[in-house]
């Protein structure tokens, strides 16, 4: 039976066959396009400027985490949606960090990770708050990051308040166990938010462990010469030097103190920017016996060791920026799975309710209070024979602490 007769007529069978083929062809792109839309994560780090190395390390860790999530099939709750990294460079400048937030907002990011420097983080999180976009701080020591009532800000690692408390407790314990040879401290810090805030907190808490803060010495970034700081420390006859500064000044100060024969019971840093494998391996004589309370991976975690190997295979160093940024992305991935949506409000709620455990860190399950994770802790480290050992907390320790350091 024909629908129509004549030369141009089409039989019902031919019509059905043809329409099926057309429908099939039209459906093809739809099936191909059924792949869930990628979830964009904005990574804002100072990959240029005076802390470029730290920023590049942070970016490395975050990108590795994104690759790992994607290779494992993406976000399952979103139909296997891939994570897509939007790379931003704050250039170590506050205003540039804020403009990166704006640009990435235009590009439709679901969440941000950043910013290494506290001042940049403070401004960038404020900018992200306007759009209700969650912002996970990977590195940023200032507690002002999470104490302004912004509900979109989350920090997995402990801030300098917690780190200072833990460091002070450890220092007091080490000094007491050695018969209290140290009585006084000089604090040398960079003059920004991180260094000044940490040094002031430390100075306020030192009397609680029987140590007197003799002087706080601030320096700029960059500083060309620490000879006079060494002179001052020698004149003050301090027993301990505590340092809070970024990589270049940290290393230069440590070298100068050794060169200027400043004999102290300990050089102890809190969140020391330069205390890493590179420093300890390249300058073992300078680093030997230096103590640092910092973010550190769990040396007993096989996943952490595997990640360390993967980073080293790329020619990089497994510094704290790498694994803190890695964890920040993994935290967002976990929240996306639980939210089942990339909607900003739902993702923020999922982050706030997170009970994720960062396996590679010496942390318990996540519990955010006003955006600050209560389950995180740092570790006290010591440079010993060209390597970095964990000396506290005891549960993760890989060596016994040497305190006071042997006299040169």
């Amino acid at each position: 039976m024909s629908m129509q007769t004549g030369r141009n007529s089409i039989s019902r069978r031919r019509f059905l066959a043809g329409s099926t083929a057309v429908a099939g062809a039209l459906a093809m792109p739809r099936i191909a396009g059924a792949q869930a839309a990628a979830v964009r994560i904005g990574l804002i780090h100072p990959v240029s400027g005076f802390v470029a190395y730290n920023g590049q390390q942070g970016r490395l860790g975050a990108v590795m985490a994104i690759d790992e999530v994607n290779q494992a099939g993406g976000i399952r709750a979103l139909g296997g949606a891939k994570l897509e990294a939007l790379l931003g460079d704050s250039q170590s400048k506050v205003e540039v960090g804020v403009s990166e937030v704006e640009k990435m907002n235009e590009a439709g990011v679901a969440a941000y990770v950043g910013c290494f420097q506290s001042p940049v983080g403070i401004a960038a999180t404020q900018a992200a708050a306007k759009y209700g976009t969650p912002f996970v701080i990977d590195v940023g020591a200032s507690d002002a990051l999470v104490s302004r009532g912004l509900t979109n800000v989350f920090r997995l690692k402990p801030g300098f308040g917690r780190c200072v408390d833990d460091a002070i407790a450890t220092l007091g314990e080490l000094n007491k166990a050695a018969g209290s040879p140290a009585k006084s401290v000089v604090l040398v810090h960079e003059s920004g938010e991180f260094g000044t805030g940490t040094a002031k907190l430390l100075a306020g808490k030192l009397p609680s462990i029987g140590l007197e803060a003799k002087e706080l010495i601030a320096h700029d970034n960059p500083t060309r010469n620490f000879d006079n700081v060494a002179l001052k420390i020698r004149a003050l006859r301090a027993d301990i030097v505590m340092m809070s500064n970024y990589q270049n000044e940290y290393v230069l100060l440590a070298k100068t103190l050794l060169q200027q024969k400043v004999n102290v019971a300990a050089m102890f840093s809190v969140l020391g920017g330069g205390f890493n494998y590179k420093f300890v391996r390249e300058q073992p004589d300078v680093a030997e016996f230096m103590l640092d309370h910092n973010h550190w991976f769990n040396p007993k975690s096989t996943k952490a060791q595997a990640l360390k190997k993967a980073v080293e295979a790329k020619g990089g160093l497994f510094t704290f920026e790498v694994y803190l940024a890695y964890n920040a992305v993994m935290l967002i991935a976990d929240a996306l799975e639980r939210a089942g949506s990339a909607d900003k409000a739902k993702l923020t709620a999922a982050l706030a309710a997170s009970t994720w455990t960062p396996e590679i860190m010496p942390y318990g399950p996540t519990r955010f209070v006003n955006g600050q994770n209560q389950g995180g802790q740092g570790a006290t480290l010591q440079a010993l024979k060209g390597d970095i050992e964990v000396v506290r907390p005891e549960a993760f320790a890989s060596a016994a602490a040497v305190f006071p350091r042997p006299k040169a």
Partner: protein
């Protein structure tokens, strides 16, 4: 109140640090004296020279002091080529264009260093770098003592070269009167390129003397370039003697300022000198002799 011992040690430290500043400023003042422009790429080129000294040490084990002639010669060649191929051509004979070209060069060099070398801090570890010489209350780093002697020698050698050699005479002639120099047969463009090359060669020498006691990263030049500008203004633009005296004055001011006012506030001495000189003696201490 600080003891006289500390102040004495601080003054000596300031002189030693000032010597490093002299080395950086000498090239800058030469370039200004002849080309009449401030070389904004000076800090970036210093950084590049420091990388050269670092990579030579790392790949061949050659001590930075022994690498000095090589890096200085490389600096001369780079400076000459940069002037001939980039600065001279793009400036089209206008001094204000040269300013912009050197600023552009600085941005390109710094970002290229970041791209190729990464943001990581590199240091040269040589056994003698940690050695000190005890002089009264001060422990003087051997590396800085060598830099001090080298700064004096370099200024003397450069002064003699400019005063006695034919090229030096041509440089002085071009610095005084370009048109006149051209009329008596001096190749002005070549003299510009040679002057720029010598300026960068000085940076090469400074880099080799600096790297054992400092570090190199893509932004390392920033730490010295503002100080070098201040020294050139203080000593008188184009004056070697001015750069020498200015470097030591700035070094001691910075050192004593740091001791008396604190490391951060003590830095105020450098911009203060800059402003005072501009107000009271715009030509600088030795500017009239330049």
């Amino acid at each position: 109140m600080l003891s006289p011992d500390i102040l004495l040690a601080g003054t000596i430290n300031g002189l030693l640090t000032g010597a490093i500043y002299v080395l950086v400023a000498v090239g800058l003042t030469l370039i200004y004296g002849v080309l009449h422009i401030i070389n904004f790429a000076h800090g970036s080129l210093l950084m590049l020279a420091m990388y050269a000294a670092f990579f030579l040490w790392r790949s061949t084990g050659i001590d930075p002091y022994l690498a000095l002639p090589l890096v200085a010669a490389g600096g001369f060649a780079l400076g000459y080529v940069l002037y001939r191929c980039v600065i001279g051509r793009l400036s089209r004979g206008k001094d204000e264009n040269i300013l912009l070209v050197t600023l552009g060069l600085a941005i390109v060099i710094e970002n290229a260093a970041l791209f190729f070398f990464g943001g990581d801090t590199r240091t040269v570890e040589v056994s003698w770098a940690a050695e000190t010489v005890e002089v009264g209350p001060a422990f003087l780093p051997l590396a800085k003592l060598v830099s001090f002697a080298a700064a004096l020698a370099l200024c003397a050698a450069l002064g003699l070269y400019i005063a006695r050699s034919d090229t030096g005479k041509a440089i002085r002639a071009v610095a005084r009167e370009r048109q006149g120099a051209r009329l008596v047969g001096i190749d002005v463009e070549a003299t510009f390129a040679i002057s720029y090359g010598i300026g960068i060669a000085c940076l090469g020498a400074a880099a080799c003397l600096l790297i054992p006691s400092f570090y190199v990263a893509p932004t390392s030049g920033h730490a010295f370039v503002l100080v070098a500008f201040t020294i050139v203004v203080l000593g008188g633009m184009g004056s070697f003697l001015g750069a020498l005296v200015g470097g030591f004055v700035v070094g001691v001011t910075e050192s004593l300022g740091g001791l008396l006012l604190g490391e951060s506030l003590g830095q105020i001495g450098i911009p203060l000198i800059f402003i005072l000189i501009l107000l009271l003696r715009p030509a600088g201490l030795f500017g009239s002799r330049a």
